[in-house]
């Protein structure tokens, strides 16, 4: 009876003993109870650690006790059980601390903590179960032990919740029991064998196995909250917060999912189950539950009910992962078991904190909670983003593996499910995050507890922070040795043995080159958190991009594209930071602005430096999400609507990108055929197209830029938009394969955007909108050139430097134009500096048009030369100059009107002018020659061609001619196609409304019918029992005598 047989038993017994001991401690002995609880949790964790280390280096742990004639009570510590045991052990410790804080002075705590530790004991037992019978024993014990937890408060709601919980779990338990008994009769002792037990058992008739599988899954499905059996989960939210945290993140729900994993892998074996056609059924149910859960979550106002429905959908990911018969999907499913646990428990802790300290239960009451409880809400936000699947937090990892696994198993519809559910997750989590951080507190808190030193009791605050940190760490260090991901990979490799693919290169390494560049900005970011340091930090912000700038010039020179992009981003971030110093001085919300300014800077620089897909997406997401507050900064109505459009489009692009990159990774690693996959390319184009202002996807741009403060809109236009282009360069198969079917449409879209944007922009009355439209039109050119590269890959070698050059030129020009808008007050006529300032405006404008000697001309020349194989391209390029001149002319008109309008007396502010000068200088062409070593046409003289000049004259001519005409025309709304999209959106919500209240009425009808049925059955039973009061036992006895007589004698 050495350690290897006793350890699993100890791990299970320890929490149970603690439970019993706590039950015996009288109510008032707080210290004893607290020490028992925490001591027990720690001891169990220590034991689990011992078990973990043992299993890792190959030891086998098994406790085997005789239970029934030929079935044993087996506790076996294998890899899969350890995943779940360590999760529940760890989260048990945190939930205990949390519960101690939560129940400071409430009634019958001994009872609560007793059943609490018994519940964890049952979960650990369930995880360590070595055969299906032991699993069943702990599964049923779990129901019993969680009942008092749900009914803890004792009020009507929780009793009703407990009753519903019981009805479901009892029926589930009974179904499971029948299934297990039937299976035992057919297949003897049901020990879990790693590649499936039933596969090699001879002579089992398949129809029986299918029915049994259905019974088992129905039984387990109740706890795993699969679709028809999930109704108990939201209702049991009436339980106190630690209970719902434990139940939904760790114990009950995971038990069901874990059970499904055990049955599918260790009893049926994945191959045997899939060719019995069972896994398809499970996959469909799981898929439907995912969508159904998210949809229901949308309409819940109570925070915990919304989280409950989100749990319903999230747990089905695990079921989905197991059901897709592929090794990578299994890893996805298994790792989600841990990740969802971490994220969901954080969410529930925060919900509990809100309820406990502020008395907030409804989402509508949560406005401005961020200010009152910043740390809790920060944890909530991290976990919420994790649930949506934003990299690098834990949720993304599991969705990533599920996506790749779905492709591996050719289950394309699963990708659809993942996309839709991420969209739905975003649509029910983001409004909460928006309400927390960006809305003011409109009504007093319902039941506010006195303000302590911290925002709430430390015991309530610490657990969510730690679990949030774990959720982040698990995501970030996913591919490290001891992460749950590697552990699930180990499990999956044991399940699949033979056909386990090499997954090292789809692992998420988040490796980014020259990470030292980001150190300074991150330091500043942490400094921002402390109120006292804020003032000093703000002054230091312009220094942040400097290391990047130096790096770009000196260090980063092996990859030309990366170097030039880094140079562009760093330079403009530096100038914008300088500009912002003065521009934001008297803005009351500047702390928030600077906070998100730095985060976006980190995101942007990170994207440029990213080495491979995972880090690219992570920084891309970071940049796009943190840009949202910059747009929202002025809090005006247009800002709000612009910001919402922006965030919606960002979410859309994130999802499309996710699908595209999943496809790319899969086909790059595993597919055999060489030709590039069209749909992957389209998704990537659309994904980055949103950011890069592809024709129909650009609608957010003209709305967002004018609204943001000048430095932000400059950055948006000049730098952030270029990331889309960088994405295309990195991920599209440019230069090595031609995809004609995509090339033509891209070129068409590109040029139409160039011309239409120009015309539309010219009619605008806001200077910044005009600039935004000019960005759209310039981007049109880039899109067209990318299309050209797709059409004939051999030209890519020449085209790449041209595109990069054009991007840099546009960046600097557009940035300086935006900065000039800021100086409009100083442009009043008659001041001695004004002509010099007008020069500042004209230089970038003309360089955009492409006049000789300007960077624009150089870029266009390079482009013309690279696309020489197709003359139409260069003519269109030249024609685009007309459009740009139109826009620039309109811009100058507006600037003059602006100058006359607010001709304030203040003398021009030097600290504003200096950065504008800097950026204007960059627009001159001679700066570009050295870094790009353009051979033949690098000389400035090549820009002196006639074709660069005549479009400008025609443009200015049109401006003057149409001046009066344009005055009369009404100003078209900013986001042109947006109206169409909004109409479409309102249409879809209307139809959705119709469907919703249709099934609501159906549900109502069904309830009414059930009510009648119930009443009818009660009355029948009452009438029946009245007659059948067996008042005639005599006759009955005689009748029985007769029947027995008959039975015996025949």
């Amino acid at each position: 009876m050495n350690m290897s047989t006793l350890l699993p038993a100890f791990i299970v017994i320890c929490p149970i003993l603690v439970g019993l001991a706590v039950m015996a401690t009288p109510e008032h002995r707080v210290l004893q109870r607290r020490s028992l609880n925490i001591g027990g949790a720690l001891i169990t964790l220590a034991l689990i650690a011992m078990l973990l280390s043992g299993v890792v280096n190959g030891l086998d742990f098994e406790t085997r006790l005789p239970l029934l004639p030929n079935i044993d009570f087996v506790l076996h510590g294998d890899a899969l059980s350890l995943l779940f045991v360590s999760l529940s052990g760890l989260l048990w410790l945190f939930t205990t601390i949390y519960a101690i804080g939560y129940f400071k002075n409430s009634a019958n705590r001994s009872r609560f903590f007793a059943f609490f530790s018994l519940c964890v004991g049952a979960t650990i037992g369930l995880a360590l179960a070595g055969n299906l019978v032991t699993f069943l024993i702990f599964y049923e014990l779990l129901t019993l032990v969680t009942y008092p937890l749900i009914a803890h408060k004792g009020n009507v709601a929780s009793i009703k919740a407990a009753r519903t919980y019981l009805i479901y779990t009892m029926i589930g338990g009974v179904l499971l029991l029948t299934g297990v008994v039937w299976l035992k009769v057919l297949a003897g002792p049901l020990d879990f064998t790693s590649a499936g037990l039933l596969a090699e058992l001879p002579g089992l008739d398949n129809s029986h196995l299918q029915i049994i599988f259905f019974l088992l899954i129905a039984g387990l499905g109740v706890k795993a909250a699969l679709f028809p059996l999930h109704a108990w989960l939201p209702i049991s939210m009436a339980a106190p917060a630690p209970v719902s945290a434990l139940l939904h993140a760790v114990a009950v729900v995971k038990a069901g999912a874990f059970g499904i994993v055990r049955v599918v892998y260790d009893i049926y074996g994945i191959e045997f189950a899939s060719d019995l056609g069972l896994t398809v059924l499970l996959a469909v149910i799981a898929g439907f539950t995912i969508i159904y859960g998210s949809v229901k979550a949308l309409s819940q106002d109570d925070l915990k009910r919304r989280l409950a429905y989100s749990t319903v959908s999230q747990v089905s990911y695990i079921a989905l992962g197991t059901a897709i018969a592929g090794p990578i999907a299994t890893i996805g499913g298994l790792v989600h078991l841990v990740h969802q646990g971490l994220m969901k428990i954080t969410l529930f802790f925060c919900a509990g904190n809100l309820a406990e300290t502020l008395g907030v239960h409804k989402i509508s009451q949560m406005n401005g909670a961020g200010k009152r409880m910043p740390l809790t809400m920060a944890a909530f936000t991290i976990a919420a983003f994790g649930m949506i699947g934003v990299p690098p937090i834990a949720g993304f990892v599991s969705k990533w593996y599920l996506g790749v696994g779905a492709l591996e198993a050719q289950a394309y519809w699963v990708l659809g499910v993942l996309a839709i559910s991420s969209l739905l997750n975003a649509s029910y989590f983001l409004p909460i995050i928006h309400a927390i951080w960006f809305k003011e507190q409109d009504q007093p808190w319902p039941k506010e507890v006195a303000k302590l030193r911290l925002e709430t009791h430390w015991m309530l605050l610490l657990p969510p922070l730690i679990t949030a940190f774990f959720a982040l760490a698990v995501g970030l260090f996913a591919s490290s040795a001891y992460s749950p991901l590697t552990w699930s990979a180990l499990i999956a490799s044991r399940e699949y043995q033979a056909i386990f693919p090499d997954i090292s290169d789809i692992a998420l390494k988040y490796s980014t080159g020259h990470l030292w560049v980001l150190i300074l900005p991150t330091l500043l970011l942490f400094a921002m958190v402390f109120k006292t340091l804020r003032a000093k930090v703000i002054r230091l912000i312009p220094l942040a991009p400097l290391p990047a700038l130096l790096g770009a010039i000196l260090v980063v020179n092996e990859d030309k594209v990366e170097q030039s992009f880094l140079l562009l981003t760093a330079a403009i971030w530096f100038i914008a930071a300088l500009y912002a110093q003065t521009y934001m001085t008297n803005d009351n919300k500047k702390h928030r602005f600077y906070l998100f300014f730095i985060i976006t800077m980190i995101g942007n620089l990170g994207v440029v430096l990213a080495q491979e897909i995972s880090s690219f997406i992570a920084f891309f997401a970071l940049m796009s999400f943190s840009a949202y507050p910059l747009i929202l900064h002025s809090e005006s109505d247009e800002a709000k609507s612009a910001a919402t459009t922006y965030i919606r489009w960002v979410i859309f692009s994130e999802i499309v990108l996710f699908l595209g990159l999943v496809g790319k990774t899969y086909y790059a690693e595993f597919s055999t055929n060489e030709l590039p996959v069209v749909w992957v390319a389209t998704l990537l184009i659309i994904g980055f197209g949103v950011k890069a202002g592809l024709a129909t996807l650009h609608v957010w741009l003209p709305k967002a830029h004018p609204v943001a403060p000048i430095p932000a809109s400059a950055l948006l236009s000049a730098v952030m938009v270029k990331v889309g282009l960088l994405g295309w360069i990195r991920f599209l198969p440019l230069g090595d394969a031609s995809i004609n079917v995509l090339a033509q449409p891209m070129m068409v879209l590109g040029f139409t955007a160039t011309f239409l944007a120009a015309i539309y922009g010219a009619l605008q009355d806001n200077a910044k909108t005009v600039l935004a439209y000019s960005t759209v039109s310039q981007l049109g050119i880039i899109v067209a050139s990318i299309g050209f590269a797709l059409a004939n890959p051999d030209s890519w070698a020449l085209l790449l430097p041209a595109i990069v050059l054009f991007a840099m030129h546009h960046g600097f020009a557009k940035a300086s134009l935006f900065f000039c808008v800021g100086l409009s007050s100083a442009l009043k006529p008659g001041h001695k500096l004004t002509p010099f300032l007008w020069l500042l405006v004209l230089v970038p404008a003309l360089s955009l048009i492409g006049l000789p000697l300007s960077s624009g001309a150089l870029a266009k020349a390079a482009l013309k030369d690279a696309t020489s194989s197709w003359p139409l391209f260069s003519t269109l390029l030249v024609m685009s100059a007309i459009g740009t001149t139109l826009l620039m002319g309109r811009f100058i008109e507006l600037m003059r009107e602006q100058a006359i309008l607010n001709a304030s007396s203040a003398k021009p502010n030097w600290r504003l002018i200096l950065p504008t000068v800097l950026s204007a200088l960059m627009c001159l062409s001679y700066f570009y020659t050295p870094p790009f070593e353009f051979k033949q046409f690098q000389t400035i003289v090549s820009t002196l061609s006639w074709s660069a000049v005549w479009p400008a004259f025609i443009g200015f001519l049109i401006i003057f001619v149409t001046k009066k005409l344009r005055a009369k025309l009404p100003v078209p709304p900013a986001g042109d196609l947006l109206i169409v999209y909004q109409a479409l959106a309102s249409l879809s919500t209307k139809t959705w409304q119709i469907i919703a209240n249709l099934n609501a009425s159906i549900a109502l009808y069904i309830d009414m019918m059930l009510g009648h049925l119930h009443l009818w059955s009660l009355s029948v039973s009452r009438r029946l029992s009245k007659q059948l009061t067996l008042d005639r036992p005599g006759t009955i006895m005689v009748v029985m005598l007769a029947t027995l007589l008959y039975a015996f004698l025949t």
């Binding site: 067996l1030 008042d1031 005599g1034 006759t1035």
Partner: protein, 249 residues
């Protein structure tokens, strides 16, 4: 059949619901017919244990085969049967101890001549006859139960005139009631010690032991049956001691 146990029921003796009546008559008839045909048809074992008993009669210490069966061959049954009687006595006797003497004679003013005459003549005769019955049990039909029943009859006669009043809860009464069971058990277990197994009478003393058991049984049975009878009388007038003021009719 047992649901309507209302004592005050003075409705028709047989509840008239036709269904149950017809059904029970029919089936009872059927039951009777079937059992009779079976019993008649089957010869079955014609002599039962007669031969075996006659062979072992001399070993039993008594000549009357019934007494031999009752008190020797199947002594265990008789023991349990006395226990049954004790159960009922315990169930019926009032629980509170009235601390009145075991046997009390009450001077009653108006005497019923015929009754008192009968009592002084018949009671002693019955006692002697009961003694004879007890003694004859060894070789003729008779024995403890018959003697006990007879004595109980005599005690009923004595109670008629309410001149004698026995307090069954007094210590003596309790000892006497429990006497037979106690003696039987002691003898039974003692025999294990002597003879090696329960209730195996030594050949020489079996007759004597049976007689001893019989006498104790008679005493206990008399007292038990007397107490059963007097419990009904006592209940009639709500047991004298309960409400002092009530006069004896």
């Amino acid at each position: 059949m047992f649901n309507k146990l209302d004592i005050e029921y003075d409705g028709p003796p047989v509840d008239k619901s036709a269904l149950s009546l017809i059904a029970s008559v029919l089936v009872a008839g059927l039951l009777l017919a079937v059992t009779i045909t079976i019993v008649l048809s089957d010869k079955g074992h014609n002599t039962g244990l007669a031969t075996v008993i006659t062979q072992n009669i001399e070993l039993s210490g008594v000549t009357n085969p019934v007494t031999a069966v009752l008190l020797n061959f199947r002594a265990y049954d008789t023991l349990l049967e006395i226990a049954v009687l004790l159960v009922v006595v315990l169930a019926i006797l009032p629980t509170r101890d009235h601390h009145t003497p075991f046997f009390k004679r009450i001077e009653v003013n108006k005497q019923n001549l015929v009754l008192s005459a009968l009592q002084c003549w018949i009671a002693p005769a019955v006692v002697i006859f009961a003694g004879y019955l007890l003694w004859a049990g060894a070789h003729q039909p008779g024995g403890a139960f018959q003697a006990g029943a007879l004595l109980a009859g005599a005690s009923v006669l004595l109670f008629q005139s309410d001149t004698y009043q026995i307090n069954y809860t007094s210590p003596i009464a309790r000892v006497l009631l429990v006497l037979s069971l106690g003696v039987f058990i002691t003898i039974g277990t003692a025999l294990i010690w002597f003879e090696g197994s329960l209730l195996t009478y030594p050949l020489a003393f079996s007759g004597l032991l049976i007689l001893l058991i019989e006498t104790c049984a008679t005493v206990s049975i008399t007292l038990a049956l007397a107490s059963l009878y007097s419990s009904f009388i006592a209940n009639e007038n709500l047991s004298i001691t309960d409400n002092k003021h009530r006069t004896i009719e």
